[in-house]
Symmetry: C2
Subunit: 406 residues, 2 copies
């Protein structure tokens, strides 16, 4: 044994008494659905020394019918008020009551790991502030890119340099639909039903197909990569609800594949961030991310491109990311010093070439570079503020918009 | 300040007195070439708090002409004998004197970070043993995949579960040549000269184009992913020295792209590991890893596929990986518990379909599935031990072999 003096700032691990005493860290698991049950499965099966140091002490479910073992409860207070539970894994999804539970846990001095992108995107600023004040961790690897370790790797890059930008495929449901439409040459509605049958799409798929799920993830990634707190609703967001098979053919004629892409650049005081279908070049590996996989890449000065590919959703991959965060909490992982700041989203000067299919092509006459047929056109390079004005003018609810990768 | 008792096993960080006292960790840099100069540049420019905690105290160069500043020396003893230098970054390349210097540094109780795959592949077992005995770290992120953080991420996966297999593009030089041959439809010799002119290939390119560089990296990745110590020379290794443009056309006819791939599977007592050109399906994103980039992916039970794409070589990306390792040393990163074991390489039962171009096609008559022309054929599915026998029988020095991805 060694007797030592530790300066407080350097001894985050001291709070993690479980590790020092060799006792497993006790976890309160909120939610026992797709992700939550995966977390319990990985921890219970204990396939490594690190996982054996974790223990799911209690699990919260919604209804009494789900109480199938002693550690399952319908009373959240049994978890939040248990002083032996050091960390909460929140896998409930939705805004409430998840937000209130996470907030309370942080206020009670428990670290929190969450896979809930919607809730985190809405309350990240508030929750991080509470976490810092209470000297606990708030981690969210599973909220972006499912099993893909992009959050952790972005932080590692930031140990050396700022991240300038990122882009990628952030949503497995829409990537499954787009890949299947291309391969099987079928229409969107049919493929959406297929995705729902395969369990890749929810019964109410709006968040996925309208791009909102990607928007939440882009907002969270702006926080992780740039320390930028942005209002998700400020991010111009277009989904694939209106896509037709002819759009894929128009992309194919240009040696491109349609993918739903989210991207952002740090501009200092503001952030340029968008979510939109893109005609991705067939020579770009993102065009070849298949099925429900995700692919996310960042750019920074010395490292250049850093790309991450993997399962963007699903029970065990997403649970794997939750458990990675839990191990980081149990090891008292040193965090990168951060300086979170509110930033505006500003895409006005962003220049792009766009593919548009609309019943009102005449509205876009002044920016047309090429007419493909009666309803489909490619624009010249145009500033976003200009195009946005024309889109508002057209007000075509069936319009399909995609950026054409240069 | 907090007074605390720490059990020895849990206090690796105590040795890192620099961190506790807020003084920069002093680094001895061996080698000031492509990678070494990048390391000095990143640390000297100090773009983050973590990097500012590092200091390049001394740098070793080969000749007096290179001594351009006070901290540069030609005397390695000035570095190895300096008790204030806690960690050595070895970026010299080659077997000796790099091996002796690294060994001595570890014996003197200094942690070592190395980008030297050739030396590490040859001496990994010996060096890890010395590192463990002296309670110091030996890290090698930059030795495999350049800037790509695959070594760290493999270790993170192993915190949860064993890694079952990995595969990927591990060599930027050959990927540059193969990509350029496909795009510009030129022959190998011309493209090799282009790669040399662009600084992607060395004047003596044998290690790259014959697959030996990939072999070193596959051996090191077996150690990192499987805890398997394998003899690199046991890994069946085929390069692209004999490739012709017609081989690329034969691949294209099958909707495939030729890439030089290294892969391995952990079979418990043995490892199946190979290095070979592969006809990669055009629907596989590895077929779209361009220019001198690398792409490496692992497979494990709950996470599934985890892919990493980025700069596999180059001064600053590789230096970035070295600096990541240095920060991990300075933070006293907790290591995954390991159990390194010597394992044999056994590919005898591996089944595959192969493309062969040879002046002696008659030797392969009994395994032919399709004759493409006088010299080119596709085999039926055949066990490696069978094919290896036929290759030895043919003994054709100009033969080109590639596996056809199923």
């Amino acid at each position: 044994m060694i007797l030592c003096l530790c300066f407080e700032y350097n001894c985050a691990w001291i709070e993690h008494s479980s590790e020092i005493q060799g006792i497993a860290m006790k976890i309160g698991l909120l939610g026992h659905g797709v992700v939550g049950s995966g977390v319990a499965e990985i921890i219970d099966s204990g396939r490594s020394a690190e996982v054996k140091d974790l223990r799911v002490e209690k699990m919260l479910v919604r209804t009494r019918q789900e109480v199938t073992e002693a550690r399952i409860t319908t009373e959240v207070s049994e978890i939040l008020n248990d002083p032996e539970i050091e960390v909460i894994a929140e896998c409930m999804g939705g805004l409430e009551p998840a937000h209130t539970y996470v907030k309370t846990a942080l206020e009670y001095g428990k670290s929190v790991v969450s896979s809930n992108k919607k809730m985190l995107a809405a309350y990240y600023s508030e929750l991080m502030e509470i976490a810092e004040k209470n000297h606990v961790m708030l981690r969210m690897e599973a909220a972006v890119g499912g099993g893909i370790p992009c959050m952790e790797n972005l932080m590692r890059i930031r140990r050396i340099e700022p991240i300038d930008s990122f882009r990628g495929i952030f949503n497995g449901t829409t990537n499954y639909i787009l890949s299947a439409m291309k391969e099987e040459q079928k229409e969107f509605d049919e493929m959406l039903k297929g995705a729902q049958a395969a369990g890749y799409a929810e019964r109410n798929p709006g968040d996925d197909i309208d791009g909102f799920d990607v928007r939440y993830k882009v907002a969270l990634t702006c926080a992780q990569a740039f320390d930028a707190l942005v209002d998700p609703s400020d991010i111009p967001t277009f989904g694939i609800r209106n896509i037709h098979s002819e759009d894929l053919l128009h992309a194919e004629e240009r040696n491109r594949t349609i993918k739903l892409i989210g991207w952002a650049e740090d501009h200092g005081d503001s952030v340029m961030a968008m979510v939109m279908p893109v005609f991705v070049k067939d020579s770009d590996y993102l065009s070849r991310i298949p099925c429900n996989l995700n692919g996310i890449e960042s750019f920074s000065r010395t490292l250049g491109k850093a790309g991450f590919v993997g399962q963007g959703a699903g029970s065990l991959p997403t649970a794997h990311a939750v458990v990675q965060d839990l191990i980081d909490v149990s090891e008292g992982r040193k965090e990168v010093s951060r300086n979170l700041k509110k930033k505006t989203v500003n895409c006005r000067d962003r220049k792009g070439v766009y593919y548009i299919r609309t019943k009102q092509p005449e509205v876009f006459a002044e920016v047309v570079a090429e007419k493909l047929d009666q309803n489909c056109l490619i624009t010249e390079q145009v500033e976003w503020k200009k195009l946005e004005g024309l889109l508002n003018q057209a007000a075509d609810p069936d319009l399909f918009l995609a950026e054409v990768q240069a």
